[in-house]
Amino acid sequence: MDGTLVSLLHGFAVALQPANLWYAFLGCLVGTLVGVLPGIGPLSGISILLPVTFGLNATQAVIMLAGIYYGSQYGGSTTSILMRIPGEASSVMTCIDGNAMARRGRAGAALCIAAAGSFIAGTFGVVMLTLIAPPLATIALKFGPPEYTALLVLGLIFLAYMSSTSLVRTLLMACLGLTFGMIGIDNMTGHFRYSFGIAELGDGIGIVPVAVGLFGLGEILATPSHKVAGEVIAPKFRELLPNREEWRQSAMPIARGSVLGFIIGIIPGSAHVISSFLSYALEKKVSKNPEEFGKGAVAGVAGPESANNSASTGAFVPMLALGIPTGPITAVLIGALMIHGVPPGPQLVTDHPSVFWGFIASMYVGNLMLLALNLPLVSVFVTVLRIPYAYLYPMIIMFCIIGVYEVSHSIVDVWIMLIMGVLGYLLRKFQFDPAPLVLGLVIAPVFEQSLRQSLIMSNGNYFIFLGRPISLGLVILSAGLLALSAYAFLMKRKDWRTKLAEAEAGES
């Protein structure tokens, strides 16, 4: 514990350096804007701005990119409350009661409760991250190829189980991602795979063109400007503070949302989206007045907003401790660390303590910055929201092109982005969630290498995965999840995942 405290103090010494503070502030500001603007999610925001971090050191880069991620969770609530349009996916549930509060003249109070909840939950998440990640990394040092293989399979199955679309659809997306991830030179034999004579494909398909194409361009292709129209409710500055009763009503939902969000965040999947839905359902269940939900219930804003912020921090636990992404956003962040020559994984704590602890400490500071940013600047965000979408999306396409091209100065990557944009558009039409595709793409090289190494180690015996305690436990967990999914499918049960899909469809 003392060691953790000393390391955290070292982290603060790193995070409080003026340059690092500046990049944390920049990340939080850009993240808030990304969250505020409909059509740009944190994933496309981070991907587009990844090349901007090339001139920075690894600590500054990851501080800025993570700031964009958790900043977007704050910003998303503004659009939800003032326009009833989710600024990003995790704010879907906030639309319902947040906008209802705004229509009752309590827009300022809703924004303040969302910001306070986000701050408390974000800080809680960072405290838990500080306590959990280092010991987990120590355990992970005992992992060999069979454990990593089993863990990655569990991650994919968890993602499939948690997804709001069907298991088959999610696994299809993961297979597609794995296939894309195997393009390029095979690390173990040197064979070129599916590169069709294009030299640039020898290095494989990068995560940035795929993520920007699927989530950035794909969204634009599916959104004609005439469909984006919305009235912005502008709150008055003096109405920003909630009254005593509203504070009282928000206290417990914030506490419950913080804990629930963090737990969900550790699990693979679009944690921040799922956590806000589950928090809303929980608050409605425990409320003495469930009939108020949908008509401006304070708990309907406080719970989900806290949960999605806590979840976004929880998602950093497996990323920092194990080097394994729990979703596409952490996958891009892992990519960013690798570009800066910092291999993510259990060795991160010991080999790069300044990056690890500096990053964690910067999140304490970033949460404070976001609280200070979000409320005073609400009138600026209202102005941003009034920019017509017809003028906004050409600018976003421009940033997509810059972002992808600047990663490796390859026009092939920009073509891949366009192809992925069209693919993303088609996947949306056919009700596929592209997130598992990105995850499959990222884990493909690690998965393939650890699977082949495991088989070589065991002379081709698959029982190696059942003969080691950790991998056996992970295999049993995977089998359990598959059985649960099969049970829900066979019984035709309408569980929380179906309800999440309905809620997302209803608000989009």
């Binding site: 292709l221 396409i397 092109i401 600047e406 026009i411």
Partner: protein, 148 residues
């Protein structure tokens, strides 16, 4: 039989899986004790074919293909076409000329905006971005035939 969305999607995945297997012909599968570079791609392709077939078998739960809304198709096609042209010209004409033309095309052709206003907006946004990347972020953008 009504052709449904999942019939089409499932069939596309089956065809994709078969194509990947066909393209993997020259990649050695190896043995279980020493898997080759074609080992995992073939396994994943077989899984893709299986899941694609499962999707087709359960297609009754999906919407009829004819009922899929394609009202945004024209917008998607136009944006794709203009962006593709922009990508073609990007390294030839450079960032400034290409992006001004591309943003103008998007605003004038798709959004039917006033050409003068569109030109002013495009020039303003592109030049400001170019300056920000060149001087603040120190990340030079392609100059093309007009630039360094």
């Amino acid at each position: 039989m009504i052709l449904r969305a999942d019939h089409v999607a499932g069939a596309a995945f089956v065809i994709f899986g078969v194509t990947v297997i066909a393209l993997s012909g020259d990649l050695p599968t190896g043995q279980l004790s020493m898997p080759g570079s074609g080992f995992l791609p073939k396994i994943v392709s077989v899984l893709t074919i299986m899941f694609g077939a499962a999707l087709m078998l359960r297609a009754r739960e999906s919407a009829p293909f004819a009922e899929l809304g394609w009202s945004d198709g024209a917008h998607a096609l136009a944006v794709t076409g203009i962006t593709a042209t922009g990508i073609l010209l990007y390294t030839v004409l450079g960032f400034i000329a290409t992006l001004i033309l591309m943003i103008m095309a998007l605003l004038i052709i798709i959004e039917r905006r006033n050409p003068f206003r569109a030109a002013a907006y495009a020039a303003g946004v592109v030049l400001a971005t170019y300056a920000a990347f060149s001087f603040i972020l120190k990340t030079p953008l392609p100059g093309g035939i007009f630039g360094p």
